[in-house]
Each structure stands twice: as C-alpha cells, then as structure tokens.
C-alpha cells in the first residue's frame, strides 16, 4: 500500500519553505514531487525599477550565503553591456572575495551535513572555524554577510598589507582545520556509514538531469565554469577541478572538502600575485541596448544571469538562474528508492537555497486548481493594474 507524506513547506528538517511530497511504500520512497513558490519575492520585477548601481545591492540580496556570486554575475554582465574592462587588481580582489565566500559556504554546508547526519559536535566545530573566514570578510569589506564589494567597473575596497597578512595567517589555521575535517569525514565510521550510499546519482543521470556544482562533480563529471569558461582572471590561476567517484552524499562531502583546499591555494596565489594599480574604472550611467548572458561558478554550482538593456539607466530584464534550480531534477532522482529518513540528508546535500531558486510564478486558479500559462505581456499588464494605485515607497506613510 502506498502512502503520501507531505514534507514542508514548513518542516523542522528544512531551513526554508519548500514542499516535498513523497509517496512511500513502507519505508521506501517510490515517488517524489517538489512544490515550489513559497518564497517568491519578485526580485526580477523589482530589478526593472532600479538603476544599474542600485541593482548590485538588490542582486546581492537574492541569497544570503552566495550573495557575492549573484552580485558578481550581475556586475560581469553589466560590464560587458557597458563595454568597460575592470582593472586587474579589481578583478583579483573580486575573485579573492568570491573564493573566501566559497570557503564560508562550504564550511557552512559541512556543518549542516554533520548536523543532518546526527553529528552535532562536528557541526559546532566547523561553524566555529567558519567564524575565521567571516572575520576575514568583515575586515576586507566591512560587512559579514552582504559584502557589497562589487561596483560596476571594479571593486569598492582596496586591500592593504595588514589585511593581506591577516588573511594569510588565518588561512594557515583554516588549512589545518580543514585537513583535520577531511581526515575525520572519511574515517569516522559512524559518519561514513551514515553518508555512504545515500542519494545515489549515477554519472549518466547527473549529466542528463543537468545537475551542477558539487552534486555533478561528486558523480565524477569534472565540470566547472571556472575551468571550462574562465571568467575574470581564473584563466591565470592554477587550480584543479575536484571530483569524486562515489556518486553519493559522502562523495559530495569529499568534493566540498577538496574544493576548500583548492580555494585556500587560490587565495594564497591571489594574495601573493596581487598586481598594483587602480581597483576600479568609472562606469557610465547608461548602457546601450543589448543583451548579455553571464556565467559564474557559485559555491553551489553554475549561476547564470541574463541581462537586457534598452539604452536607459535601468535594465529592461534581469533573469536569474540560480544553481539550486538546476539541481532540483537530480534531487527527485536521488530521493527515489531511498529511505524516508534520508530525505533531509539528500535534500541538504545539494545545498539548497530556496530563496535563490524561487524566480518564477505559476498562476493557479484557486477554484479549479488549474494552472494557467500567462504571457509576459499579460502578466505585466496584470502587475501594472495591481500596483497602479499603490503609493511608491518614498511617498508611503510610515509605518505602513
């Protein structure tokens, strides 16, 4: 007898609202279905009303963990639209922050994996060490989460000798700790037994379901935007693409720990070869009518922004494809034929960021429950009709 269990949209195992409906046969999941759209904020629509500069901060707020990746992806695209080339030093600092962000995101994930596997002391130790990289980011940018380091045409804050020394010193501690976690993650028997064989995704399935990031690399496919289509200065930075062959959650853990080690090497290389010179160039306020696609390897996988300009100081369209969205199809596959107790672990293993991925809306009739496909222009008309009589934020009475 099969039985349907809803997990979410509000569930202790999930950090963010997403609905998973699993059809179980005893303990085994036979069918899984994802329900999305609980966290839609209309960021893309809002981006059309803000100028190019204001949008950097809006894009940064798509996600809390990979804030820099969305901002960089957007800024790269806008720089291409405005036909400006940021200086070398600016690019070095930009990808330095992006690697630090990768370290902080992977350490966060490692802690979450420990927590989901029931290894809570591991979780606490990892998160304590994550504070080191958060402090580095705070000294560089002045903020801990939304660094706001990007500007169109470069970066906003420069590095001085003291900061470089501080980063290199802290990096040594992080290296030691990560080496210990690597040893622990692959030898601690209870931890390995919990992770090995869970959420199997074969190499062929990973490719055909378009998985991205560590999920794909853990299935043995060496695919990384930093290597395949080097943006910024990744062409001149030596690093390896880390893969694992086990195709399960253990493999994803190993890939992330290996990537941590690679990130430390990249950070050290960047700091030792930091070129002198300006950090930013002046950007125009308007961009010529054009369209651009920008790719970026976020900690969770490939991030794509599509930006269209119409000659004004505001974008006509910004479309965000967050890495989590690409991994959803693979998640369904991983959940099938697994145990119900593995759902949080498998779902956490793709490092889901729901607020990143909630980009589209489906119009569902409340009475008939039928989904409607609406064209962009009619959706636009509807939104204009709905917001016509609303006061602008500036004119609104506070508190609302």
């Amino acid at each position: 007898m099969s039985f349907e269990i809803p997990i979410g949209p509000q569930h202790p195992a999930l950090k963010e609202p997403v609905g998973i409906r699993v059809t179980v046969d005893g303990e085994i999941i036979r069918e899984a279905d994802l329900r999305l759209g609980y966290n839609h904020r209309g960021v893309e629509k809002l981006a059309e009303q803000k100028t190019w500069t204001q949008n950097i901060y809006l894009m940064e707020r798509i996600c809390g963990i990979c804030s820099h990746s969305h901002a960089t992806c957007y800024v790269q695209g806008v720089e291409k639209l405005m036909e400006i080339e940021p200086p070398k030093r600016g690019l070095y600092i930009r990808i330095l922050v992006s690697e630090l962000e990768r370290v902080h995101s992977h350490l966060l994930w490692l802690g979450v994996a420990g927590h989901e596997a029931g290894f809570d002391s591991f979780f606490m130790y990892v998160w304590r060490d994550r504070e080191i990289v958060m402090d580095i980011l705070e000294t560089i940018s002045g903020n801990r989460v939304h660094y706001g380091i990007n500007a169109i045409g470069g970066v906003r804050r420069d590095l001085d000798e003291m900061q470089i020394k501080h980063i290199l010193d802290s990096l040594e501690v992080l290296r030691q700790r990560s080496a210990y976690y690597e040893k622990l993650g692959t030898t601690e028997p209870s931890f390995v037994a919990r992770l090995a064989g869970v959420g199997y995704l074969s190499k062929e399935e990973a490719i055909s379901l378009c998985a991205v990031g560590p999920t794909l690399r853990a299935s043995g496919v060496p695919m990384d935007v930093r290597k395949d289509d080097p943006y910024a200065v990744y062409g001149e930075v030596p690093f390896e693409v880390c893969t694992a062959e086990t195709c399960d959650v253990l493999g994803r853990t190993v890939v992330r720990i290996k990537e941590l080690m690679q990130s430390y090497n990249i950070i050290e290389f960047l700091l030792k070869n930091l070129p002198a010179g300006p950090i930013a160039v002046r950007a125009p306020r308007r961009a010529k009518p054009n369209e651009v696609v920008s790719r970026y390897e976020a900690p969770r996988g490939e991030n794509i922004h599509y930006i269209k300009s119409n000659g004004s100081d505001k974008p006509e369209r910004v479309k965000v494809r967050a890495p989590t969205l690409a991994n959803y199809a693979a998640t369904i596959k991983m959940l099938k034929n697994g145990f119900i107790a593995d759902v949080p672990l498998i779902f956490a293993a793709i490092d889901p960021c729901i607020c990143c991925a909630e980009r589209s809306v489906a119009i569902v009739d409340a009475r008939t429950e039928q989904e409607k496909i609406v064209t962009m222009s009619s959706l636009r008309e509807l939104s204009l009709k709905m917001t016509k009589h609303q006061a602008r934020k500036r004119e609104a009475e506070w508190p609302l």
Partner: protein, 131 residues
C-alpha cells in the same frame, strides 16, 4: 577506519577557553572599514543629490526648504538603510560618512530617522578629509 576518531579532539576541547565572548559585557572591536550608519557633514554637502539617486533602499531624502537662502533638509531613514555605504562612494565631496556603531536597534522606527538642516556648501573641487 578507526573507532572514535573524534574522541581525542573532544577531550582536547575540555581544557580550552570558550571561543565566544560575554557579549553585552565585552564587545568585539569592529574593523576600521566597518559599515555602520551613514551620517552627513552638512558643511561639505553641495546638495548634488548623488546619494539620493544611488541609494538602493531609497533611504535618503533631500528637500529644498528655502530657495532664497539655499537651505536644504536631508533625512536619512535608518529603518530602511541597508548599510551598503553606496552614498559614501557616490558623494563627490566626502560629506557622507559611515560611523562604526552596531547596536542601533530601537522600539520605534521613527526614532531611527536622522535629519539635518543646512545651507548648501560652496562648490569646492575636493574637500579636505577630516581625520
């Protein structure tokens, strides 16, 4: 594989000092570039409205209060401010700066509003940054 690989680490931590601090009694130092709340040095403001235009949160308002005397009023809505310091970067005369306060919560959002009444400064090529 060895059983209890984590135990030596756990035992070592028994004798370590806590890695957290007693927050309300002891406070961490913020870095020099910390982004607190923006404030205005009215003697340098030329009312060019660059900050108002670039503010992503629409938190800055500059209004002309007296046209004859060139008097302006600037309101910073700190309840909307996202502490990105874009106004500091946009300001051509370094009239906007960030402080380093981080305990800025309040029960009433109206108390977070800051305003300055000032006469527009004479246009200078580059203001002397104050130490």
């Amino acid at each position: 594989m060895n059983i209890g690989a984590f135990i030596p680490e756990l035992l070592r931590h028994l004798f370590k000092t806590p890695s957290t601090i007693d927050y309300p009694f002891k406070k961490l130092e913020v870095p020099p570039d910390f982004r607190g709340s923006p404030y205005l040095r009215p003697e340098l403001c030329i009312a060019c409205r660059a900050c108002e235009r670039d503010c992503p949160a629409e938190a800055i308002e500059i209004t002309l209060t007296n046209e004859a005397e060139k008097k302006f009023k600037m309101v910073i809505h700190n309840d909307r401010c996202i502490h990105c310091a874009q106004c500091v970067d946009s300001c051509p005369t370094e009239a906007m700066l960030m402080d380093n306060l981080f305990e800025i919560s309040d029960y009433d959002r109206h108390h977070l509003k800051k305003h300055w009444d000032f006469v527009r400064a004479v246009v200078k090529p580059k203001a002397e940054p104050k130490s």
